[in-house]
Amino acid sequence: MREGRGLTLAAFLSRFRGVLLGVLGVAAVVAAWDLYKAFGPEQGVLVGDTRILPRTTDLAMPHSWEMLQRFGEPVTSLRGAPDAFSAVYDASMFSLGLAARGWVIGVVVGLVLALAMSRFRIVESALLPWVVLSQTVPLIAIAPLVRRWGSEIEIGGYTWTSQDSVAVIAAYLAFFPVAVGALRGLKSPDQTHLDLMHALGVGWWRTLLTLRLPASVPFLLPALRLAAASAVIGAVVAEVSIGLKGGLGRMVIDYAVAASGDPAKPWAPIFGAVAIGLVAAGAVGLLGLVLRPFRLTGAPR
């Protein structure tokens, strides 16, 4: 497998084709943004009374480089104010932390539900519709309730904080894909495999550990990834909702006030949210690498 030097570039290109095209895709979106801003009509494109393409004023569409530049500038003119990048970074990490807590809670709750539902058919028929229904409740409506109920809680020396509320709200979104995905996964083993376990005289718990859990991995991984993205969204929404300081949600509120005079500023938390959403989903993707053997299908070569 000796390759000439001339080949290395081609090899590099083919290996990183996906990454390069991805970067190109993002670049295309950015270019489209700026081109439209440069040449699109000020008041956007209207069909009848409906605006189908946005306005191109600085207020509506800041230049992409302005948004980028904004990251390098201080948030406020106060002495010692951090630059926007580190402010967004800090807020992102804060929200990511809460989302991670929510994710863990959601995963545990989802798994427990899935276990119960896969164990008892009646539990599945009784709970599954409500699990689906739970996701039609607008998050913003339950956020203040969670905070209110949380403040009634005081276990030992531990008092409920608003951070806990945010984590619980993030978990409310995260548990759903896990419950549904794990349920499907736990029910996925072939009859042959179940028969084998039975023939070997193995009980429910051993079957769970030896067969059902490993077999559920291919279903669980995408569910966990989805849960990670949902947890981030949930955390940010909850922060907005209860005004928790320190995260991206609060930053959305704070920076909105500057939106008129400094239109690029409100985009900063959006980029932060996208970044941590991708980081969260990516981190779970890494989990997939660790669990790779469990994704094998066993189809003969």
Partner: protein, 370 residues
């Protein structure tokens, strides 16, 4: 920043006070008291932040924790459910909650005047409520809309006669012309407009570009920021005493804000407010105008103003035809008992609680409020 909305005000600017607070806390001399704000930290609440930073609360033996609000936080309910000791909220918002069963009492009417206005660009020719007819009119909802509705109703404009638009946190909708007349707090959104470059001139918008409908002038103003306490606990002597102390220190804080607007703005900024510096100072100055000069001393509830607020709450209909309240509020809805005690003590200490010769400063707004 511990990232919690139950955050303590961490004031670095006053080293003496920080030390004093720590000392008193360690000695166990302080009573913990929490205050729920109506919104996130900003100069609208400068007096309370100043009272913390200047150790006025500590001097009264109180260890005050300021709890910020949020989009979905209803301060009066947080108070009624006993999660905090005091709350800041607007009277019309609370009247509804009282009718729904919240047992709380207005113990000090900090803002004497309303800051709510309806602003529009000059070319729209909207100078009085009657002109709103047929226009796209912005409002935040969340209980901030009643003065607007009352003013319109007075002028014979029904909610159905306008195109009512929910207003976002920013003023972009107004600037882009989606909204003809936007709701604006003098201390906040009005400034946001003035911090924006007018694309026609290349310079910032000026007050000359705008028409302002001021509800104080129209006569539909309602009472805004007040300190609320739990009604039931007011029969408890310790809580009563604590309430007096809390009001006293708070008013002292507001007096500090009046006399040192720049410092006050800085205190608020250091408490974690992300607002730009010039915007923060503008807000401080505008909020001062709502308190000072004070007719009867800051915090005293003027019966006429209260009655006007209640009247409007009883008779103004919103878009669904509902009114804020359907019957007179209970007598426990407000009391001057504690604020008067506090004012008397302040008087004794030589604090000016009327600010008769108050003169606002002039604040120059910078682009984006920076």
């Amino acid at each position: 920043d511990d990232g919690d909305s139950d955050s303590e005000v961490d004031v670095a600017s006053n080293k003496d006070c920080a030390a004093k607070t720590k000392e008193a806390r360690d000695a166990g001399d302080l009573t913990e008291v929490s205050l729920q704000l109506q919104w996130v930290s900003q100069a609208q609440f400068a007096g309370y932040y100043a009272a913390v930073a200047q150790c006025y609360y500590v001097d009264e033996g109180l260890d005050v924790k300021i709890v910020e609000g949020g989009v979905d936080i209803v301060p009066q309910d947080v108070l009624a459910s006993g999660d905090v000791d005091y709350a800041i909220s607007w009277v019309p918002k609370v009247l509804g909650s009282i009718e729904q069963g919240a047992q709380i009492t207005d113990v000090a009417q900090i803002f004497e005047r309303s800051a709510t206005t309806q602003i529009s660009f000059k070319d729209k020719n909207i100078t009085k409520p009657a002109d709103l007819k047929g226009k796209a009119v912005g409002s935040w909802g969340f209980g901030n809309e009643w003065e607007l509705f009352a003013g319109m109703q007075e002028a014979g404009v029904g909610v159905g006669d306008i195109n009512l638009v929910q207003q976002a946190f920013d003023m972009n909708a107004f600037l882009a012309g989606d909204i003809d007349a936007a709701q604006a707090m003098t201390y906040n959104e009005y400034a946001q407009v003035l911090e924006t470059v007018n694309p026609d001139t290349g310079k910032l918008y000026t007050p000359d570009d705008l028409n302002v409908i001021d509800w104080n002038e129209v006569g539909s103003a309602m009472l805004q920021d007040a300190i609320w306490a739990q009604t039931e606990k007011l029969s408890d002597a310790a809580y009563e005493e604590q309430t007096v102390k809390f009001i006293k220190a708070s008013i002292k804080g507001w007096a500090f804000v009046r006399d040192n607007p720049e410092d006050a703005a800085k205190i608020v900024a250091e408490s974690g407010s992300e607002l730009g510096t010039s915007h923060q100072l503008w807000m401080t100055n505008e909020v001062n105008k709502l308190l000072w000069p004070s007719t009867n001393g800051v915090g005293v509830i003027d019966e006429a103003a209260w009655k006007q607020t209640v009247d409007i709450a009883l008779h103004t209909k919103n878009e669904t035809g509902a009114t804020i309240i359907t019957k007179e509020p209970p007598a426990t809805a407000y009391t001057n008992e504690y604020v008067e005690k506090a004012l008397a003590e302040l008087e004794e200490d030589g604090v000016d609680t009327k600010g008769a010769d108050f003169e606002p400063i002039t604040v120059e707004l910078k682009e984006g409020g920076k």
